[in-house]
């Protein structure tokens, strides 16, 4: 994707806080990113790093309370999705931006047929008649590779397997030909062969329909084959972003480096033991005032607990990371940089 293309989605300074009994939880802390037309952006990070909350914040899908959108702008189609009225927002949801969720077992309404649930956005957004919606539903099910589409319209979600249900979810998300598709760990709940089939399907649909995709996963291995660009999240912040090749070849942030070591090598010697990162992502009871990764970082030094690093550009275009090691002047021991 040429860097010059206008972003289709431009997120600036997004902040989302949960007000809980134990105090505020700062789940998303000043997240900036953009998405260009037709691009596939991979979003990675351990479970709990704020990927889902970030994406749901874009469409204000989090129930409030407890969620509260503190700050930021989400520019899409010339309007700020955080500012527009609920009616205008509804015209974007499911029509211009489609959403697929993690668990296909629970994401469909168990008491309505697939046909009904597919027809809903078609009728609401495109104003199709019942018969038109039906025809289009059959097309959509065929598009996502569900055999015997016409007959299956009147089946209920429990009559489909996990993989088939996720295909139905994809069909619903694509029903109105969206410009952006957000897939939140769409294959995490599925077993490996089904996972591969769904990834293949999305690749294929992307070529056919040309929408931009945000693909969330905690598994860098999934991203390698499909993403154009990768964004790494930790504790509700973007800690590194860049073209997929750059991220895999030359990761800058210690967290990205550690994540990469947890990915089974596809090429090269398989004997190498997989590593895990010790510890867990923190629950952010305060807005970050220092590097959130410092307790788990083997390179941490004084400055890391005094300031919060911001995303800084490095030599390769579009590649940025938030780590003081990149700021050569402040780094105490030169050998740490090689690590």
């Amino acid at each position: 994707m040429p860097d010059t293309a206008m972003p289709i989605l431009d997120v600036k300074g997004l902040k989302t806080v949960f007000r809980t009994r134990g105090g505020e939880v700062h789940a998303v802390n000043s997240v900036d990113f953009d998405l260009r037309p037709g691009e596939l952006l991979g979003v990675v990070g351990e479970s709990g790093s704020g990927k889902s909350v970030t994406m749901m914040s874009l469409l204000r899908l989090l129930p409030s309370p407890p969620a509260e959108m503190r700050d930021g702008a989400v520019m899409f189609d010339g309007q700020d999705l955080l500012k527009i009225s609920p009616e205008e927002l509804r015209k974007v949801r499911g029509s211009k931006i489609g959403f697929i969720f993690q668990d296909p077992m629970t994401s469909l309404n168990p008491v309505y047929t697939i046909g009904f649930q597919l027809a809903e956005p078609l009728r609401a957004h495109l104003g199709l008649s019942k018969a038109q919606a039906r025809t289009r539903s059959i097309e959509l099910l065929q598009l996502v590779g569900i055999p015997d589409a016409e007959r299956r319209l009147k089946d209920y979600p429990h009559q489909f397997s996990g993989g088939m249900r996720q295909r139905v979810m994809i069909a619903i998300a694509l029903a109105c030909d969206p410009q952006v598709l957000i897939a939140d760990e769409p294959t995490t709940a599925l077993d490996v062969t089904i996972q591969a089939q769904i990834i293949e399907l999305v690749k294929e649909l992307r070529q056919k329909l040309g929408m931009a995709i945000i693909w969330i996963t905690h598994d860098l291995g999934v991203i390698a084959g499909i993403a154009d660009r990768v964004m790494v999240m930790y504790a509700g912040q973007v800690v590194e972003e860049g073209p997929v090749g750059e991220i895999f070849r030359d990761p800058q942030h210690p967290y990205t480096q550690a994540l990469l070591k947890t990915v089974p090598a596809v090429r090269g010697p398989r004997a190498e033991r997989l590593q895990v990162i010790e510890g867990q992502p923190p629950i952010m009871y305060e807005a970050p005032a220092a590097c959130s990764f410092r307790n788990r970082c083997q390179f941490a030094f004084d400055r890391c607990s005094q300031e919060n690093p911001t995303l800084t550009g490095i030599s390769a275009p579009g590649h940025r990371a938030a780590c003081f090691l990149l700021d050569k002047a402040s780094t105490p021991e030169p050998e740490a940089v090689d690590g």
């Binding site: 949801r93 499911g94 168990p110």
Partner: protein, 335 residues
């Protein structure tokens, strides 16, 4: 579904026969003489003749079988005759009430309308009020509406009808003489004025009973809605761009109604139980009051028959609840 219903109906028969036997044996064990309230001046030999006429001295199993034959065979025939104008039941002995000296079912048929009007209407009103309250309370959780709902339900839960009933009489019949405190069963509704009178005399008992139903059901509806509002499919519906109205009244409501409908069906028999007390307070001479007076008068055939009818109602409502569950939830397949 049809075969399931049919199978369950067949299974209900032995259950009900067993229940009728247990009711009979329990009543048989209870002390009391149905002739106790006859004048003491009746000579012993006449008294004995009366006992013989009532079959009081025959063995328990004979009396049970007689009752069973009358209940399961004679009374249905009487019903058929009444509907079709035939005369199958001619000359057959029906279940007779000892205190009224008249067929038990004739008296039940007389009393049924009062109970249905007061108790049945109260239940319908209670349900119709409870459902929207539950829905709104859940959607606006912790709002002032929800808080008031919680408070009123707490009162409805904790204050028994024999207290709220008396309270209502004190406030709305005595202090403010808006409604009569005693239900006039002889009232014939034939014009606008008597209709208004009927409405007025039904108001207090219906309110007392409806408050109870509303309190329990609205909480249950609220809990069920809240439970479903947290489900992933709700988020999917919103992500599809559905309006809040559709999310709530199409997606969440249908799922939330599944347990609520069963509770409504299962609550029908218990409301008849509650009516026993409320009917006493407001002097509504319905089935509840009939049962109480029959117990006082040792009118065993009447008590036996009424208790058994309640049992049939419970079994039937259980069956209805199961069938409704299957109809509302496509994941349930009985066959």
């Amino acid at each position: 579904m049809l075969t399931f219903t049919f199978r369950r109906l067949l299974l209900a028969i032995p259950t009900l026969v067993l229940i009728s036997l247990i009711i009979f044996l329990l009543l048989d064990l209870a002390p009391g003489d149905p002739l106790a309230d006859q004048p003491l001046s009746i000579p012993p030999e006449v008294r004995q003749k009366m006992r013989d006429a009532l079959g009081l001295d025959s063995p328990a199993y004979v009396r049970y079988l007689l009752w069973a034959k009358q209940f399961f065979w004679v009374e249905p025939l009487v019903f058929v005759d009444w509907v079709a104008g035939t005369s199958f039941s001619e000359g057959m002995q029906r279940i007779l009430s000892w205190q009224f000296r008249a067929p038990v079912f004739d008296i039940i048929i007389q009393r049924l309308p009062q109970t249905l009007w007061v108790v049945g209407l109260a239940y319908v009103i209670g349900v119709l009020i409870a459902l929207p309250i539950g829905i709104i309370s859940a959607y606006k959780q912790y709002s002032w509406f929800d808080q008031i709902g919680t408070f009123v339900s707490m009162i409805g839960f904790s204050v028994p009808p024999f207290f709220s009933g008396v309270l209502m009489i004190v406030f709305f019949a005595i202090m403010l003489p808006w409604f009569p405190s005693i239900y006039d069963t002889t009232l014939v509704v034939n014009d606008f004025e008597s209709f208004g009178q009927q409405i007025r005399q039904m108001t207090l008992p219906v309110m007392v009973l409806a408050l109870q139903t509303t309190a329990q059901l609205s909480r249950f509806m609220r809990a069920s809605m809240l439970d479903n509002l947290n489900h992933d499919y709700v988020r999917t519906a919103r992500a599809k761009g559905m309006t809040e109205k559709v999310v709530l009244l199409v997606h969440v409501l249908r799922n939330s109604m599944i347990p609520v409908v069963t509770v409504i069906a299962l609550g029908i028999p218990s409301i008849f139980g509650g009516a026993i007390i409320t009917e006493q307070i407001f002097k509504v001479n319905g089935l509840g009051q009939l049962l109480i007076t029959a117990i006082y008068a040792n009118d065993l055939p009447m008590v036996q028959t009424l208790a058994f009818i309640f049992a049939v109602l419970i079994v039937l409502c259980n069956l209805i609840a199961d069938v409704l569950y299957g109809l509302l939830d496509p994941r349930i397949r009985y066959d």
